[in-house]
Symmetry: C2
């Protein structure tokens, strides 16, 4: 089978460039015992990918130059030499940015795509949905009546965090870039208020106006100045849950956070969410998110781009903020 | 009674200057019901004082210009109009930087100075000792066999944190400035190793050499570059306990921490210690620290300067690192 693969060509300097990736064609190898051939149908584009393109190991090792770009994806089994799977099964896993994956069955999870679109399993029912679910509930520990601030609120993770917080009885404020996104945060996702960071000159004051008694939970997807502004507005006992720092991923020099001592004076804690740690509890999140989706309590939007040739330019959209909804490459 | 008082004259720009304080003489007022007249004997000089000199409120309000400088102190009751105290009692509390305090009895705590020097109640048996005790045990949660890194290790809080960690069966590494302090950290306070930040060019590497498997607890008294270097060396599940940021208190611009995302990838948490929150449990700390002192398991050193006229220059010593042991002004 002819397989188009996206390889890491060079480590990006600053913003991702087209030339950071090579697209090549290969022939899929013959399957060994335990292997499966999967037709990749939906590739998830996630902020974490920018980190994977760097050298060295953080919570996961960096992709090597010349290696297949790591990507979470959903697809259909074409051929199986693994007892647990058969042709036609829908599967998800870290299959990489390619059109066909030859992969051991143990690295994949079978999903039931009869009730919901398969693409949902790389979004709301996949890693990003689980990140929002476990990040807010296990690290943020929301209680009814608390005030929750979410950055990247129009994004995949942020929009779900805000909606779960609202379901839990919290007052929810979102931060997003631009009027259209802020409108969507309030009207589509049901946040109580939104702050447009692109039109606000003093983010610390803007937060204070909407949360005069301070923020009980800050769920951070962006880092940088917005994180520093949030730290100026902590209520006593605040929990800061760091999920990402998308404003910093392409920066040549990372901006340090200056107001971390505010965490101390507020008797707060800062911790993070690494969704890999919660894979064993995936069923719990998928089940609960599925119920909320059915009940209409959670709204989920996808932004789909077609064609693996557009991998680099689509990934760029994440960092320029052009996407509206979960960004997915349809293969 | 003639009373010498240290007033805040102006808010410091950068390092504390002599002119930031005024020393005046007043006459103590006549006691009202519930009041006591206390002869102040030992004034505690603490890094937190630098924060109290700034405008605004953090965990406590800033001292106003022209107001008596806030200070924790120990002294002897001269005259009492409060039923719980009598002349000759030893007391501690926030009495301010002055030679005599007229203060309501409810703001003071009686201590038994028959077994140990009264000065200990502003040091090892006072706020700094309690900061070390509760900060390490309640926030750091040390377990035997873990590796604990302590900055400001020759200082009052740091030296006690390290000794408690050693008592709890941890491997303890201290960071201090200069060869003499590092020797004291190991030889006097029984740390397993010490790093001289003044002679090390790459702090991150220096920590890694001594803790190749990473740091389980980092107890931070200094902030700035040393905190950032520690964050590069976290073991999985690390607890960062921030007690202070003495390297930053006199800085005109605070240095942001750049490596905070390492807390996330290490599944760590950052939190702080505000000793005021533990005052209700003071007896527990004083009792346990007293036992360890008696058993010789904790060594405690004081650095005493005489004369309230030297308040400003003595306080400066804290920030230049000139003191060896808990810095106390003997009135």
């Amino acid at each position: 089978m002819v397989n188009k693969q996206v390889l890491l060509a060079q480590r990006p300097q600053g913003m991702i460039q087209f030339g950071d990736f090579n697209i090549i064609e290969t022939i899929t190898p013959v399957l060994a015992d335990g292997d499966m051939l999967v037709q990749v149908q939906y590739i998830s584009l996630d902020p974490a990918m920018r980190g994977w393109m760097n050298a060295g190991t953080t919570y996961i090792r960096g992709v090597e130059i010349g290696e297949l770009m790591r990507a979470f994806a959903a697809g259909m089994v074409v051929e199986s030499k693994h007892a647990d799977f058969k042709a036609g099964d829908s599967v998800v896993g870290i299959m990489g940015a390619q059109t066909y994956a030859v992969i051991q069955g143990k690295h994949l999870t079978k999903v039931d795509a009869s009730q919901v679109p398969l693409s949902w399993f790389v979004g709301i029912l996949g890693m990003p949905g689980m990140t929002a679910y476990f990040g807010l509930l296990e690290k943020g520990l929301p209680k009814a009546g608390e005030t929750v601030l979410v950055s990247g609120a129009a994004g995949m993770v942020g929009s779900v965090v805000g909606q779960i917080a609202r379901i839990k009885g919290c007052r929810v404020i979102g931060i997003a870039g631009g009027e259209a996104k802020c409108r969507s945060v309030v009207e589509d996702f049901g946040f109580h208020a939104a702050i447009d960071y692109k039109s606000v000159s003093n983010m610390g004051k803007a937060i204070k106006e909407l949360a005069p008694n301070g923020i009980d939970i800050y769920f951070d997807n962006v880092g940088g100045e917005i994180l520093d502004a949030a730290l100026l507005n902590l209520a006593n006992g605040a929990r800061i849950v760091v999920c990402g720092a998308i404003s910093q991923y392409n920066a040549s020099e990372v901006q340090g956070i200056k107001n971390y001592m505010k965490i101390i004076s507020a008797r707060g804690t800062l911790s993070g969410i690494i969704v890999l740690d919660y894979f064993a509890r995936a069923a719990e999140a998928i089940n609960q998110l599925g119920i909320w989706l059915q009940e209409g309590k959670i709204i989920y939007k996808e932004h789909t781009v077609e064609g693996i040739d557009h991998f680099a330019s689509t990934l760029q959209m994440l960092f320029t903020g052009e996407n509206h909804g979960k960004l997915i490459l349809k293969v």
